[in-house]
Amino acid sequence: MKALSAAQRRRRRSLYVMAALAVLSTLVFGLLQKSGQVVTYGFVLDKEWVLVQQWVINSRTASLLFGLVAVAASGVAFLQFRAGKTIGIASAVGAAGIMMSFLSWAAAGKFIPFTGLLQGALLLSVPLIFGSMAGVLSERSGVVNIAIEGQLLAGAFVSGVVASLTHSTFWGLIVAPFAGCLISTLLAVFAINFAIDQIILGFVLNVLVYGITDFLYKKLLIPYQATWNSGPTLAAIKIPILWKIPLLGPILFDQSIIVYLMYGVVFLISFSLFKTKWGLRTRAVGEHPTAADSVGIKVNRLRFMNVMIAGMVAGLGGAYFTVGGVGAFNKEMTAGKGFIALAALIFGRWTPWGAVSAALLFGFADNLQSVLGIIGTPIPSEFMLMVPYLVTVVAVTGFVGRVRAPAADGTPYKRGESH
């Protein structure tokens, strides 16, 4: 066999891990399970067109079946790897198989609203997706953005308060990006103009936003709740025809406007980053600012602009907590979602679609945890909650796959200084 590069070796190692997990889940969830219990998957949520009402299957059979699917997918992925082809689809099928094998085991004897599970997962990943998009914008141009949490929280606070004062979700939605932008402008000024350590800076900005919102929450929002903190919420909009599609319809096309805006943001960023002049310049500035400067790109101006846009995206995501969710602002209601967004960005290898997939995965894990918590399962919910964080640690250690930040990420640029 010919010599493999380090990246290929890592990919092969991740294939081994997947295959091992597939075999393990077939054995543990499938063969070792007590038979007799059935698991019921429900596929209908609303009045969409019905393809399958529900699916009742012996949980042991289901675990075995999905485990074998995962094993087969691992095999296919390995053959594709040997042939030098991409292994994306086979790995995705394999991972899904392992997941379903686990779910069929964990939910033995129970009813799982499958569509609802996915819909909830999407909802939980909305702030993660907005946050990680903010991360992509900022970090691809070379500015580390740990302040995603602060930008989300600022967006949530301001949009909640403004919606409450104006009795209008419209204004709440309009101002949210500017709140996030305010924080990211601070980040830009200190990181780009003053060349301060961006990790420390992001950390401090988070503390600052926590402090200010906690303070104002206690001082204004609690005592004067009726005026300051009882904002309206956005209603879900059903997109005609599309929402009727079985399974996918209610998940994707029966959502509030923020979710539709999110689709737009994701498509726009992933397209522009790789297909437009701006995108090329952004990536150049993030990888090799000196080279970019030598061809006439204004490095710091571009970075400044991108960080500001990043703040707007995260701020809009913040609105999801208040106007897009419960209406009223609550103390520290982002609850570390900004850090999971950061994790999704890293796990997604600083690419828009990677970050979206990671965010969806984390959202799914989060929702699975709460669904399993309600129906009661053998796994303590705390361990399920650890999953996104542990997965990220595994990802950055490079044991499976490889993560590398943009080369100039976090390094201030000053003309004439080599890096």
Binding site: I196, D197, F215, L216, G398
Partner: protein, 392 residues
């Protein structure tokens, strides 16, 4: 504005932090004034507005002082010393903060940003608490055993980060952020198990540690101040010795200054990274022990509070130097202790403390802002905390 000149070189080091603190207090005052409904009533009349704002700010900051240092109204005819009770509270809060701050500072000096003090603190608290309530050992031995358990737990949780960084290059900031959450969920899970459930309670709270494992009180039973503050000061002295007087410390600083050069000079960078993070974790774990064995006595999901994160601001304000950390943790400990009193007695929530902390650190990190505001010249602004990215 008059130009400030600083003559004595020994004071120079304090100029920047001092002015940064003043500036942060000023912004805090603005926040207090502009969010106070009684002050805002006077918004149309500049004179009475400033007056009302002055009263609101003065009352808040006075309460902050009375809650942290000296409050004459606490004195009783029998015991005039009780007016110093708040100072004891400040020391109680400062002790764990100092240890966690030392943890962050030590890692900084070796070029590592330990955001994970929170998680290491949690593991220290868990270990100290478990040994403290589960075993029945004689006085003295029990306390020492609980402390050692906490130190080991913290060292393992911290050392893991260093090991991962050394072996795989995983950035410690990402790993520690993630491990903080893992530690928190682990704690929450533990509190639901029968071992950690307090008899007769159903909410997640552990049993109190036994008296034999508690830190001895220093000033009688009226005050909560305990041995913990001396433990913290001793740790500060140890870190100072380690960094400036020992070969290990020299290696740590060499790696922090330039890891490539250190490697060329024959220093084992992986070993340094692992050992620095292990010691750093041990210090944070010790902080957890001091907190649980000294003042809290039981574990809850909020045991670690904000210690691990405040520790970062402490280390930054103290410029990653042991002496600086001691003063910074006393200051922030005072703000925390006083903040509670302020929230109870005035209209100002304790969260103003977070704002002040964040601003102080921001101004310390950006000396150009402070210099510009106060028109300073020739003040030392060393860049110990240089910018590094994910790949650094």
């Amino acid at each position: 504005m008059r130009k400030l000149t600083v003559k004595r070189p020994s004071l120079r080091a304090l100029t920047l932090p001092g002015l940064a603190f003043l500036l942060a207090m000023f912004f805090g005052a603005l926040l207090i004034a502009f969010s106070d409904s009684t002050v805002l009533k006077h918004i149309g009349h500049p004179i009475s507005f400033i007056k009302a704002a002055g009263v609101a700010v003065w009352q808040s900051y006075l309460a902050l002082f009375e809650g942290s240092v000296y409050n004459p109204s606490l004195a009783t005819p029998h015991d005039a010393l009780l007016s110093w009770y708040p100072l004891s509270e400040t020391l109680v809060t400062a002790a764990p903060l100092m240890l966690a701050g030392l943890s962050v500072a030590l890692a900084f000096r070796a070029g590592l940003f330990n955001i994970g003090a929170q998680g290491q603190f949690i593991f220290g608290s868990i270990a100290a608490s478990y040994v403290g309530f589960h075993f029945h050992w004689p006085i003295g031995i029990h306390l020492i055993a609980a402390v050692i358990a906490a130190v080991i737990a913290g060292a393992i949780w911290g050392g893991l980060v260093g090991l991962l960084k050394a072996r795989t290059g995983a950035h410690e900031v990402i790993v520690t952020i993630m491990l903080n959450y893992v530690a928190l969920y682990f704690l929450m899970w533990l509190l639901g198990t029968t071992t950690f459930l307090r008899p007769g309670r159903r909410d997640p709270i552990s049993p109190d540690v036994l008296n034999s494992a508690k830190m001895p009180l220093l000033a009688g039973s009226n005050y909560r101040v305990n041995l913990g503050i001396f433990v913290a000061l001793a740790a500060a002295a140890f870190v100072w010795w380690l960094l400036t007087r020992s070969t290990w410390g020299f290696r740590f600083r060499a790696v922090g200054a330039n890891s490539a050069a250190a490697k060329t000079a024959g220093i084992s960078v992986p070993f340094v990274m692992t050992s620095v993070m292990a010691i750093s974790g041990a210090l944070a774990g010790l902080g957890g022990a001091v907190h649980v064995l000294g003042s809290d006595f039981s574990l809850t999901s909020g045991t670690a509070g904000n210690f691990g994160f405040d520790a970062i601001t402490v280390a930054l304000l103290g410029r990653a130097k042991p002496m600086g950390v001691v003063f910074a943790s006393l200051l922030f400990g005072a703000l925390r202790a006083g903040g509670g009193t302020m929230q109870a007695n005035t209209n100002t929530p304790i969260d103003i403390v977070l704002v002040i902390q964040a601003l102080v650190v921001l101004f310390i990190a950006a000396p150009s802002v402070v210099k510009w505001v106060f028109r300073l010249k020739n003040v030392k602004t060393t860049g110990e905390l240089a910018a590094k990215g994910w790949n650094g």
